[in-house]
Amino acid sequence: MDSRTTKRLPQFVLLLALLLAWGWNLRALAATDPKDEAAEDTAGFKEFMTHVKDYMHVHKSAESSLPALRPTDRPELILEHQQKLAQNIRKARPHARRGDLFTHHAREAFRHAIYTEFHGPPAPHAKATLKQGDPLPEVHLRVNQEYPKTAPFTTVPPTLLLKFPKLPDELTYRIVGHDLVLYDVKANLAVDALRGVIP
């Protein structure tokens, strides 16, 4: 490399950075039309709910082979049901991985809802709720992994839940550290996870 090229290198890098930033801004501007965003979110959530419905077939099928779980004074029966259900679900979806339910479009919709929550009027309350509930910053749940038995649950800000699609009773959204986790309650199992979306 001759000395002339070396001298011009910083200018070239600066120009490239400016072009990239300009392009990025144009993209961002194009995407910030509220109508488009709302439509994209609706489509993303719809896609997500289709996958939730598919998962529920798996859950129901996995549970159908087990004796119905009714209130009992024998905790071992509750634990046994939980463990066998988790086992059956794992068997039914051995290749399950992150993104099966939180697909690309779904992820964008959830990210947008979370961003709105934590940067809008409810932000101070929502942030306080997270801090209040003994958060678990270092934990990342893998798909098909059980929720750690001794770990507390972080309260999911109820104003955030108002922004998410409604789930069947068997599933809940959970916040684990900075991740949003789709959680199978009876099986105590992570169904899918969205990493690093919670501030």
């Binding site: 306080a128 209040q132 001794t150 972080t154 104003t159 839940l161």
Partner: protein, 314 residues
Amino acid sequence: MMSRRCLLFLSLLFFLGSNLWGDEFKFPLKSGSVRFAVIGDMGTGASEQYQVAQRMAEVHQRFPFDFVIMLGDNIYGGKRPSDFEKKFETPYKSLLDGGVKFYASLGNHDSPNERFYKLFNMNGANYYSFKKGNTRFIALDSNYLDPKQLSWLQSQLQNEGSGEWKICYFHHPLYSSARAHGPSTDLRLLLEPLFTRYGVDVVFSGHEHVYERIRPQKNVYYFIEGASGQLRLGNLKKDDITEKGFDSDRSFILVEIVGDQMYFETVSRAGDTVDAGVIHRPVPQKTAVAAAGDLSSALMVGMKVSWSAAPIVL
């Protein structure tokens, strides 16, 4: 000389007697009244939980409450069958054997599947309600207050007559002066409008490992009892909303509802009364309190005061 000594002795006896028994708070123990105890954040399995449970069993002899409401963190740590035994069945054995029922709500340390544990009387639901006498009890799951639970709560409150007491209980407090967590303002945003609109009278919560009675907020009375097993010593930073606080030992609350009056007493692990009073349920919408030792809040909301402070003996 003898007669003067005798007079002095008699005066002393009279003075002691009037102080010990004259202004005592006593539960009415009326037939048909609603009698219960309140515990929160108790399921540690440690000796302090056992000591509180023992004190509850002793008190039960004199104040036979029919049931206990649990404000969450019922089973800390592991959830093996042996944990249920160590952290619930054994400490409360004498009460359970005596037919006392326990109605749990879920805390952040509880497994959601505790709702299937029969002795918690949740009947498989993480939120539910039940009625005792003239009182509707509503147990909420404050870990996960989704729109479905909110609309269920609204329908429960709508369907209840205005002549009934409405008591809600759940883990996370809407108001708190404790340093560890503070109030759940996000929950408050959604729950308080329902409580005030539909005339909820009293709310019990845990999570903070102290006892605190909050001044009535929008005519709703809030108690925190999160020290029936756990304790955060000296954690209360009493402020304007604090009516009474206790953070130097474990505690539990006793309640008796007779007509439009709710008598309450908070008892420490050592058996001392740390707070007591009576809440008068005004007709038709307002709720107010006459508290032992501090009448200011009661006067502020224009209530009738039924008696003044005194040591309470059951």
